[in-house]
Symmetry: D2
Subunit: 379 residues, 4 copies
């Protein structure tokens, strides 16, 4: 693991997600650029001191010298955005598969370069767009794939947050600090942090691709350096329209991602707040509330494979995260041991999702800067 | 009553709303332009045959000749849009107060003319933007007025419907027929039918005024003559941004108006589906679910005056509608009998709301036609 | 109308319910045993002074002397329990149909006497167990009738309230005052006020009859004279078991009636808080949320006939109440005018429900007094 | 780990729960009484073959011979009920701390014997009553402890399930097979499987003890050997009354534990379906929805310590389970390393809860057999 030392938020989630299914063992880490902090973090995690490194360069070099079967297989990169590209590239070039936090890189240029490197190395690469790991999100995608909603017409995605409703970055709060800093976060604030999730889930569930975008990107909290709120109109490749809105300044809002998709034959609604329910609406029929659970025969096979508990036993964010880790681990493992892989497990966000995310940030800003024009969604 | 004969939808709702509080008695009507149909409708409503008229012209003339105290006091106009202006103007010019269904007129020009006539006659005029009649909508407005959310930053309004997801107008369905016909509905389809409600509630609750609008107006169902789906970005007069989206082609969707408003200190969410609850979110506090009920001392005085039942006894659409009728009746009555009127009852949508609604339609279409530019929201 | 003068709660609801559908006109009343209060109440209701009476005796006598067609047709009795029997009997004996608030009488003896009189006079009689007026409650009953849940196994009814959680009767609050007074309320407090509703909805929806009962009846608030909380085990005539619990001392609780019924093939859940939704659960299928609305073809015909608005336009307590009044009015009217009556409208609680309610009170108390034994539910 | 081999349900949940926080490592197991099956299960779990045992006797003996620090510290027993006592006692007597699935033992006699042994060995013992591991359940307990609801008056617990609504045990389904078999499950069916959870959460949250019980215990599915449905009246030691109902034959029901507690000053409601929300109701105030999240300062300190994610990131069943494992691990660790333990972590169900559970089963059956009398809840 690169990053995720004491005080970090997402590192601990990555570790729980990786541990949950017993497919991945944390064997080493460079948890901080501060060697002492890295050491302490490793100690807390019961790692042998010799495998807790003071830098990711050192980690990659040292691990590379270990024997097959002892050496780490996967590098998990959980640093702030500006530190995504370098460790990822180095790990890939040294032959390690990589799982990386989103947004993928600092900018689109890096994203395209990384895409090239992933292609060249032929290694596995995953991006932790967590929301696509939820069973009910996969169920929605399957239903749309199976044409249960007919041709898609409309997609609404709303991603409200409230934690940046004051100038939190001035208080030294670590998460706010780097996320609002253009030098570490990249050109997108809210766009990068949660907008990319919103765009990703829209494409993942609908199976459509964004064709063009028009945006209204705002800095609401005075003095902030990056956007903290935006609305967009989206046009998808099949002609469907929609909106993606996200904000981090909605005082009092939780982390409340919602997606509504309607086609000619019906619509679905999924809300992160109740992630184990998926509402299906069809003309002339009662609403259906599709519920997660390994024992529900009516669920799509891929859905059931991403549930861990029987119906009535809620799963949450860590389990969704773990689905990405588990699938990535099984995919890597199938390569290492030359095993057949159930294609339902070869399902995790990857390099293309990462490029789309960076494109989303850049195009949204471009549209807003150009006086809110429609902008083609292409590189 | 003008319009609302057999087979009409909203006429019956108007009658129930008017009857609910015992303040208004239906005394006469011109229920249809078909005299026989009007006669039959009047019979069903237990009206004396001599006060069931074959046309509104006849009704206004005849009623005018009746004695004080016997003559109708208020004319309720519930016809399709193209038939709003003429009976309303004639009623006003004959000295009758008017309550009119939305959208106010066929076009903005008529709206401005009507505004002038209302001003000249000095009579009372109400527009049935029902949603502002809900107690919890009034509560939200009061809380914002009292600065409980701080300076408003963001307003999301979503108004999904699904009933026009097929080309229902081709089946002869009466409601679809005129609502999708530019000659009877005006230039707005979805914009006029539900978009005006959405814009109205946004302004009513927030206390803000729309300053500019950018829109993406769509005709989704092939061959339809008027818009059936739109998204807008809105800029309000205090600088707040937001979106208003509405659609009538979301197959399977009910009539699901939702509004979310956030300010610097918190946010509210109201959904028509559960109209008796208002969710309040504030940083660092549990969510509050404010509930309707005459017995809840914590509600604003104006809220309680618009509840009819104690807590735990749900009220609905007809009651909200009735609040507009009741307030209008009390306002008219206070004029007739020169009584003092509690200002909390002098609260119903009027001529200005009607002009705003027509402006909303015209400006949304203008923005969309101009390649989705920002358009100033002024006459 | 007998009772329901200024300051009363349920009288106003009865009037709104009666007015809603334009089938019933309030023509006279004895609104209070205090003649002046009755007069003032009548004035507020725009009644002609000569038809506002100082007592129900006077009202019945005077109305009786009026001409056919001018005379009232129906007497609505909305007084406290101890004043149910006398005006009802007198009205019936004078040839008036009666609609009466629940619980039916002061005690079981009166209930049986009333049953005899209703039988002898052959007149129409309704009891306002409001909850059976909700469209979704009727839908649940139809589904069970059509064997959609299979043989019924279990019925849970919970009716929490909190308004009597302190000794409110000592403050002079009118509703608390008579409801906790054995001389005016009868032998049941919570049992009579809301327990009878709970028992009624259980039998109505399930189509089953209570066969035996075991109870735990409590007085929680010290010094109170009547029960304010109870739990019961119920055995139904088909062998199904269940519980009925109600309480008026659950501080903070709204008026939260809930019913859950499960059979061999599935179960339903209805909550008064969201009365327009009925949840259906079946093994191996997604949950269904059946929703009210005149436009929902999937609803049972009887359900649709008890909706007034299209889907997505919530109805509430007053509309449910009005369904009882409307059905009663149509039933009476069909007798007066010798019209055919749609049997779906001949659906309102009546004398048998009233007897069952009084039995429920008496048997619950008997069981509790006998050390919580099973008691047969028969007269 | 004892039990939990291939095909088992709860074993996998135990393993995920143990792994989640990185405090516990699975080092060995006797996963099945079938040695080959145990071996295969161990292989799947990446255990070294020499630490996968064919029986728990062998496991305990062999592990005992390992060196300090290499030897297992904790034994997790996840077998069917009849196999709880023996491995637990043997493990304890060999000096291992034990975490055991519920219900604690086969019968009350075993429970009392185990209590004695736990006392004698002085070792740590935990029982996985999962529901008490939820942060919002702990929050409810803290609020009651801090007198926020005042003196407790009423406790309703409802635990519906539907999976045994047919005679599933006849199909060979493994979970149904042993759970309905008196020889393996003990004298309680539904009572033991979920009734003990319901009783446990009632006592845990309220801080009260059951004083007496009256029950109606049913076998609904013909030919079943153990109860599959029951209702009880409960009297608590402070005089509060309540009901505990559970059923496994509610066709279509999920695993839907709910608890409602009201005191003189307010009430709480928690539903397993939305475990991250706790509803608080107080007279004269809006409802509060208290939400989980490490970042919510308003939560009790103990609550926050049992959250892993910030607000808006739902946690579920596995996390609740993991809270028990984590707390147990920290407690054991504080003994081993003689560290100070935060008392908020010394919070997991133990031997007393286990005895109460067995008492609940026996007393409920006793009451039902005695013609549904009140039975004192003591040994």
């Amino acid at each position: 693991m690169v990053g995720g030392g004491q005080g970090a938020f997402i590192g601990a989630v990555h570790r729980m997600a990786a541990a949950l299914d017993g497919q991945i063992e944390l064997v080493c880490g460079a948890f901080s650029s501060d060697a002492e902090k890295s050491r302490l973090s490793g100690e807390e995690l019961f790692l042998p001191p010799e495998r807790v490194y003071g830098s990711y360069d050192q980690m990659i070099t040292s691990e590379n010298e270990l024997l097959d079967g002892e050496r780490m297989d996967i590098v998990s990169v959980v640093t702030p955005n500006f530190l995504h590209f370098d460790p990822t590239v180095k790990a890939l070039k040294s032959g390690f598969h990589v799982i990386l936090d989103k947004p993928m890189t600092f900018d689109l240029e890096e994203a395209l370069a990384l895409k090239q490197i992933v292609k060249e190395t032929g290694l596995e690469f995953a991006l932790t767009h967590t929301y696509t790991g939820y069973p009910m999100v996969k169920q929605a995608r399957e239903m749309i794939r199976n044409n249960e909603l007919g041709n898609i017409r409309k997609i609404y995605v709303e991603y409200p947050q409230g934690w940046l409703s004051t100038k939190l970055e001035d208080t030294g709060q670590k998460q706010a600090d780097w996320r609002t800093d253009p030098m570490r976060s990249g050109m997108g604030g809210c766009l990068g942090d949660i907008g990319t999730h919103a765009a990703n889930i829209a494409e993942y569930v609908s199976g459509l691709k964004i064709r063009s975008i028009m945006s209204n990107v705002n800095i609401v909290v005075e003095g902030r350096l990056l956007d903290d709120d935006f609305d967009t109109f989206i046009r998808y490749d099949n002609g469907a329209s929609g909106t993606i809105s996200a904000s981090q300044v909605l005082a009092g809002a939780e982390n409340g991602l919602k997606i509504i998709i309607h086609g000619e034959k019906g619509g679905i609604e999924w809300r992160h707040r109740e992630p184990n329910s998926l509402v299906l609406r069809r003309p002339g029929k009662p609403e259906s509330v599709i519920r997660s659970g390994v024992d529900f025969e009516y669920l799509a096979p891929i859905t059931k494979k991403h549930c861990r508990t029987p119906s009535g036993h809620p799963e949450g964010f860590i389990e969704a995260f773990a689905n990405i880790y588990r699938n990535f681990a099984l995919t890597v493992r199938s390569r290492i041991f030359d095993e057949t892989l159930d294609p339902d497990f070869n399902d995790f966000p990857g390099i293309e999702d990462g490029v789309t995310g960076m494109l989303f940030i850049e195009k949204a800003i471009e549209s807003s800067k150009k006086g809110h024009q429609w902008v083609d969604f292409k590189i």
